[in-house]
Structure formats: structure tokens, C-alpha cells
Symmetry: C2
Subunit: 459 residues, 2 copies
């Protein structure tokens, strides 16, 4: 008799796991049922800001694989608009509610794949019946926001709440749609994903785009008129708004897991072992934005919701479920983004992370250019390195530059992954030609500066 795998959540992690399991075991050996409460499988939520800005024209461009493809090509029984409401580990069953047809189903499993993703953080003040307040996590969110922006009366003033990646990307999207934009951030600076000295470069660029940035204040409520939002009320007074976009980050969606007694780690996400197995529970696996990962630099468990990790972890889980062998090696916090032409990359620890992890360190900032100085299109590029003192091991890196800058974080990410010292890094053989780099690559210039800083700290 065939074994039965139930997958909860039909996005990146869940469907990667299902596909990989299927590659190793045919339908006669493994029956796969996937429950997805939404309308879509496997789509790029990271792409939503670009769809809203209009840069990506069609919603379906963001969909990697639709349910029908999974059904016909992968023989996966995908049940859309089904929300799993309970996991019964004793009976090895899940309970799912049919959100459209109504009613409930109970389904037996031998193996469970938990991939419920993350939920946007939604403060109390955002719970409103007034129109014009949007998250941007799902395609449905995106569709609703697009419809609001296109409908009459056309919104003119946008307030984006939260200055992380999504907030910054959405601020850019609103500007591109021709709205006036105010970004509200509780901290002293947006882009806290990099250190303040680097974030300042991003803030300057956003000002240059005409984005109003209000920092150090909290949103405490909304004002509405005729069923439409009219202002965001902050600790420093109201800010008029025809549309409000929430970019306050996400939290792991672990309600079901907690109720079923699955272990939750210190990050608030589900604990998993290297093979993406939930420890202490038989044949239950988890992956994606609902689990925590080992940070290879700090050695601590962290919650880093990102599509690329979800894909990798889902693949690892699926290989193992299918009888193969794979492990997930952890994360180092690499991330890239842009605000119009300004690109930002980061990897490893920020200064505050290094402090919190107990490292002693030096940090340096090196100014250079993306191309040879004389080559057309040469633009400034700033590289920051954080290195352990006295050993010199790279702990973190950040890059801000005007073009061809963000992905320059990748060689630094690989150096960090391999625990290189900044001294070793000065010797790296990186690509050089005038259209692509100065004779001393910005990464090498920064490494040299870090070596000097370590020597000075040693004296």
C-alpha cells in the first residue's frame, strides 16, 4: 500500500518538498496531498512590489507553477482553498476546512510536511473596515491594492508603514505609480537591515526620489472618511493618506504547529534538524518561512523568511522524505535590494549582531567604484566589512552602490561561508576588466583596509 504524504501549504517550501519527494517516489509508492488555503501555488511574493509598481505587468508572471501543473505533471493531489485547522499527531490525521465549498475533511498521513510560511505582522490599529489599508504578502493582497490604486477616486497620497525591505520597495513602487509617499518608521532610521552608517546612504537616496521619511514615531491609529482611510495617526500627529501599505515584517505562521505540540525555538519559529525534520516527532518535516535556521556566523537559531531559503529547505526536506539524503547547511543572512538605482547588499552580522553575539571586532568602510574610474558609467560604491579581532575572520559585509553593486555581496558571502580572514581575502583572484571593476576590486580595497585596521587595533 502506498505511503501518504500530506503537505500543509502550497507555496515555495511545500511544493518544492512535494516535487522532490515525487522525483524519488512514484504515485504507486507515495501518495501526495497538498492543502493550500489561498488561490495560488508556488508564486513569488518577493515580486509583488514590482507588480504593484507596474514594472511587472501581469499577475500570472509571478506564478512559477499552477495547481494544474502539479496535478498533471507531478501527480500531486493539490486541494486549493483548503485550510488545515488541526493536526492530530496521535491519529496521524489533519483536519481541513473547504473555504469555498464549505465542510471539513479529515485526511490520514504517514508523513507530514509543514510549510505554512509566515504571516504579516498586523497591529491592532490596522484592523479596520475602512478601505485603503493593505498588506502585500499574497497575490490577493497585491490584487486588492492594485484595484484600489486604479479605482476612482484615485489615491494621491500613500503612507508606507515600516522601513524594512518590503516597506522600502513599496515606497519606491508608490513613487513609480505617481503617488506622493511618506514612509513611517518607528526606529531612528529605515533599512535597519544594514548598519546606520550604511542605511544613511539609502535614506539619502530615498529623499532624492522624493520619498518623505518620518522616523522615531509610531502609528497608533487610522482616520477614515466615508468608509475610506483618510490619515494615519501617529505619536506625532496625523499624516494624510489615501492608501496605507503595511510593511511591518512577518512572523512565522506556527499556530497549528503549537496546537499540535511541535517544538518552537527561541526565534519563535519551528525547530528543525539539519535534514528539516521536526525533532522528537515521527515523520514530521517543516521548511520555509515557518522554521528557524542556524546562523552560521553567530551559531544561533534565527528566523529569516526568504524565498531562496524556502526553496532550498523544501528541496532538502523533499529529498529526505523521498528516501534520499540531504541537509540544510544554515544561513548567513545574505540579502539584496534596491531603491530605484541604489543597490544594497548585506551578508553576515551587522555591528549590533556582532555585539549581541559577543564578538570583538573592527569595522571599516571603503569608498570605491563599481567600474574602473575612467570607464563610462563608473559609479560610487561603498563597502563595509566587519572582522573579528584579533583573528581577522570576516563576520559581516554590507555594500551600497549606484549600479552593479548589490550582487557584489556574493563573493563576500562565499568568503564568509568559508570563514576566510580579511587577510586571506586580500589575495582573492576576482574578475578584473575596466568595464567591471577597478584594478583593485572594491572588495579587495575593503579587505586591505580591514587588515590595516586590525593591525592598528593590535598596537
Amino acid at each position: 500500500m502506498a505511503q501518504r504524504l500530506i503537505v500543509i501549504g502550497g507555496d515555495a517550501a511545500g511544493m518544492s518538498a512535494a516535487s522532490q519527494a515525487r522525483r524519488r517516489q512514484g504515485p504507486d509508492d507515495l501518495e501526495i496531498v497538498a492543502f493550500e488555503r489561498g488561490h495560488f501555488t508556488s508564486y513569488s511574493s518577493c515580486g509583488i512590489p514590482y507588480w504593484i509598481s507596474g514594472l511587472v505587468s501581469e499577475r500570472d508572471q509571478l506564478i512559477t507553477r499552477d495547481p494544474e501543473t502539479f496535478r498533471t505533471q507531478f501527480h500531486i493531489d493539490v486541494r486549493m482553498r483548503h485550510e488545515v485547522t488541526a493536526i492530530d499527531l496521535g491519529r496521524r490525521e489533519v483536519v481541513a476546512r473547504d473555504l469555498e465549498g464549505g465542510g471539513e475533511v479529515r485526511e490520514r498521513f504517514d508523513t507530514l510536511m509543514y510549510a505554512t510560511g509566515a504571516l504579516p505582522i498586523q497591529p491592532d490599529w490596522a484592523r479596520t473596515d475602512a478601505g485603503g489599508v493593505f498588506g502585500v504578502q499574497t497575490l490577493d493582497d497585491g490584487a486588492a491594492l492594485r484595484a484600489w490604486l486604479d479605482a476612482d477616486p484615485k489615491p494621491r497620497r500613500a503612507v508606507v508603514v515600516g522601513g524594512g525591505y518590503i516597506g522600502v520597495e513599496m515606497a519606491e513602487a508608490m513613487i513609480q505609480r505617481g503617488l506622493s509617499v511618506t514612509l513611517v518608521e518607528r526606529a531612528e532610521q529605515p533599512m535597519s537591515t544594514v548598519d546606520p552608517d550604511m542605511a544613511e546612504l539609502v535614506t539619502d537616496a530615498m529623499h532624492g526620489l522624493g520619498i518623505q521619511i518620518r522616523t522615531g514615531l509610531s502609528v497608533i491609529g487610522l482616520e477614515e472618511r466615508n468608509g475610506r482611510v483618510s490619515a494615519v495617526v501617529t505619536t506625532e500627529g496625523p499624516i494624510p493618506a489615501d492608501v496605507v501599505v503595511l510593511g511591518l515584517g512577518v512572523r512565522p505562521n506556527v499556530g497549528l504547529a503549537e496546537a499540535a505540540g511541535l517544538p518552537i525555538g527561541p526565534s519563535g519559529a519551528i525547530r528543525v534538524d539539519r535534514r528539516m525534520r521536526v525533532p522528537g516527532v515521527e515523520d514530521v518535516w517543516a521548511a520555509g518561512d515557518c522554521v528557524e535556521s542556524l546562523h552560521r556566523v553567530s551559531g544561533l537559531p534565527v528566523h529569516v523568511p526568504l524565498g531562496t531559503h524556502a526553496n532550498k529547505q523544501g528541496r532538502v526536506a523533499g529529498i529526505n522524505i523521498g528516501g534520499g539524503y540531504a541537509t540544510f547547511a544554515g544561513v548567513i543572512g545574505t540579502a539584496v535590494t534596491k531603491v530605484c538605482d541604489l543597490e544594497v547588499g548585506r551578508t553576515g552580522l551587522r555591528e549590533r549582531d556582532a555585539v549581541a553575539s559577543g564578538f570583538e571586532f573592527i569595522s571599516v568602510i571603503a569608498q570605491s567604484t563599481n567600474r574602473a574610474g575612467y570607464y563610462p558609467g563608473s559609479r560610487p560604491m561603498t563597502v563595509k566589512l566587519i572582522a573579528e579581532k584579533p583573528g581577522g575572520r570576516l563576520l559581516g559585509a554590507q555594500i551600497v552602490g549606484w549600479s552593479e553593486a548589490a550582487k557584489r555581496i556574493d563573493p563576500l558571502a562565499v568568503a564568509l561561508w568559508n570563514e576566510m580572514t580579511v587577510d586571506d581575502m586580500t589575495a582573492l583572484d576576482l574578475g578584473y576588466a575596466p568595464p567591471f571593476a577597478p584594478a583593485w576590486d572594491p572588495v579587495l580595497i575593503a579587505a586591505r583596509k580591514a587588515v590595516d585596521a586590525l593591525a592598528a587595533a593590535d598596537r
Copy 2:
């Protein structure tokens, strides 16, 4: 009494060494004399094709530091237009000819820095009094070629001989200047710096630009008319030409070194140890395009003339000469170039190198895109990986793509440097966001494909 350092050659390696030595020892402790036979110090010869194309407008943009700066800021006695004609290791003297003033000087040294660079390979047929035949190694070469292209009668037909980096870049430059261009290459394909399957992508792009490519034929002579070149004569007949550009590569400039008895390695370049010291000779150092380097993958000595290595090696030599400690870690053959919008990157061994070095290996080619498929400006990107069989250690990588592709070789270069296996590489935490990469970075897709190929080869 001050020690005396004599530097032969005033370009990247020589002047990096001189500057670094000066950083550590002041003029009272170390007198530095540098002989340069040309008109310029420290300039970017890699930039010459872009100056000729007109992309870089002024010659002086290519000059990093002029002789006067070295004299006044670094207290280096730079003697321009002085060609060193002999090294007397017994007497610790060099003999230099003043190419402009005439006469000869003898100068004593305690320490000698040999940095004579490389010489363009110039076949017998290219030795002609006819106008219109040019190398592109020095700024003087570039100035002469520019003058020829600007003078009446305006050349219309260019023949570029040699299909390496310089040949390809010069073919592009000639096209941009509005000439019709034929590239002549003795081998079956230009761009032999990558494997034939990847070179084919470059060849296709060059055809698309309107560059005529003639392969498998040798140049055996020139035809001239009224003192001007009129055709290149090949083993397959003449090709009309109003201007001929030589891009046949370079050889280490070791004549003086050989005459003085310095050791020459199997690559034909000067042997040096890790600190850039010439072994077996007291206080003689060498760096740059005239020395050979350890290839970290093959373990063999290689001659890789490239400005970035010259800078690094000169710096290492100068630190050591100045009493510090530094070593040069070797090269892995990373290089990047472009033909209009087509970008090419490579690192490590090509298939033929892997065969020659005795490795067993698999190779894979993966197709992907530089950005998320749905993001505007997403373009094809092809990644080739060569991995040791059965261990899976990365031996080499090549990338061809239409934009934002060449520098994607850098994370692969760092992985190679750290002797990662392709299996380890599938776990790498590289930057992901839709404007910069698909959720599976092309590098990771290629690594996964290589893992599959190794598994298949194992069966």
C-alpha cells in the same frame, strides 16, 4: 647610509612595489630610483581598447599616477625614457640608456626590483615600414592607432589578428568606430580562454555585431600600397585592410633577466617565491607580467599577465622590500570581458587544462537568467561548471550572459579558491531579490546540475 632600491619598469608592478616600500621606509633610509623606458608611469593598458573606441575620451584618464606625483609625493627618483640595458649582479649595478638625451648611466643598487612587464607577440610578417599596422600595448601604441584612424584617408576596413581578450575588445572598438571588421584567428574559434561550447556563444554575438570571423587560417604577410598597408595575406588568401591591429597576446619581457642569469621557469617567465623574491639571487625581486605565478588549482606555474595581479604582486614585493611581511597566494585564472552587451567570465581550469593537469572531471552547462524571469531586463545567462570526479571539488567555471553576468564569476572564484565541492556550493547563501536573481541563483542551479552529473557518473 641609505639603502638603494632600483626599480626596472615604471608601471603597475614596479610602482606599486616602490610605493609600498616607501610607505614603510622614508627617503633617509631607502633611496628609490625607478627606470621607465616609455613616456608614462602606472597606466591602465587594459583600458586602451576603450580609449580607441572613443568610450574613454582622454588618454590621461588611463593614467593612475604620473612621474611627477611619484617624485614629489613619494620621493621616488623616476627616470623616464631610460631603458635599462644590463644588470650586473656581481657589481650590483644596472646600466641604463637615456633614450632621449642619449648616453648611458650606471647606477648602484642594494635591492633590485625587476618589473619589465610583457612584450606583445609580434610575428615576422608584422615588421614593416608600411603605415597602418598597430599593437595596442602601450599608450604610445594607442595614440598612434588613434591618429591613423582619424587621419585622411580614413581607414574603412580593419583586420584584427588574434581572437583573445585584446583581439575581441579591439574588434568591438573598431566596430564602434564605424569600420568594417574582420577578426582572423588561427584556431578553430576565437575566445579560447573559455571552452569551445561557451566560446560559440561569444562568436554568435560577434557575428550579430557584424564582425566577420575567419578561423583556422594564419597570417603569412602583408600587402602594401604607397607606404600603407592594403591587405593581410593569409593561408587562405588576402583580406583587404586599411588598418591592422595585432592582438596575438604577450610574452614575458625577460631578456635582461636571462642575460643576468635570473632563473626562468617552465612558463617562460621569471621564477619567484611566495614573497616575490627571485630565488637564489640576493635581494632581487620581481613582479607583474614578467613573472610566473602558482596556479592554485593545477599546482603548476603559469604566466597570467593581468593588471590586477601586477598590482597585488608589486604590493607584496614592496611590503617585503620595506621590511614587512607579505606573500602572494597565487592565481586561479579569473578573468572577465565583454563584447558589447555580451559578458564573459571565467575562473579556474578549462576542460583542456583539467585534462592536461590529469584531473578526472565532469562538466555541466546550466541555462538560467540574470534576474527573476518575470523582472524587466531579465536576460539569458549560461553557467558552465567543471568538477573533479568523484570528489566534486570545483575545478573551473565559465559564464556567458547578456548583462550583469561577468562579475557573477566572483562567487565561483571564491568558492574555487576555498576548494569547495559543488555539493557544498548548492547550499551557498547568495543574494536573492527579483531584480538581481531568480530564487535559485544561476550559480546554484549549475551546482545542482553538477551534483546530479557526478551522481550519474558514479552509477
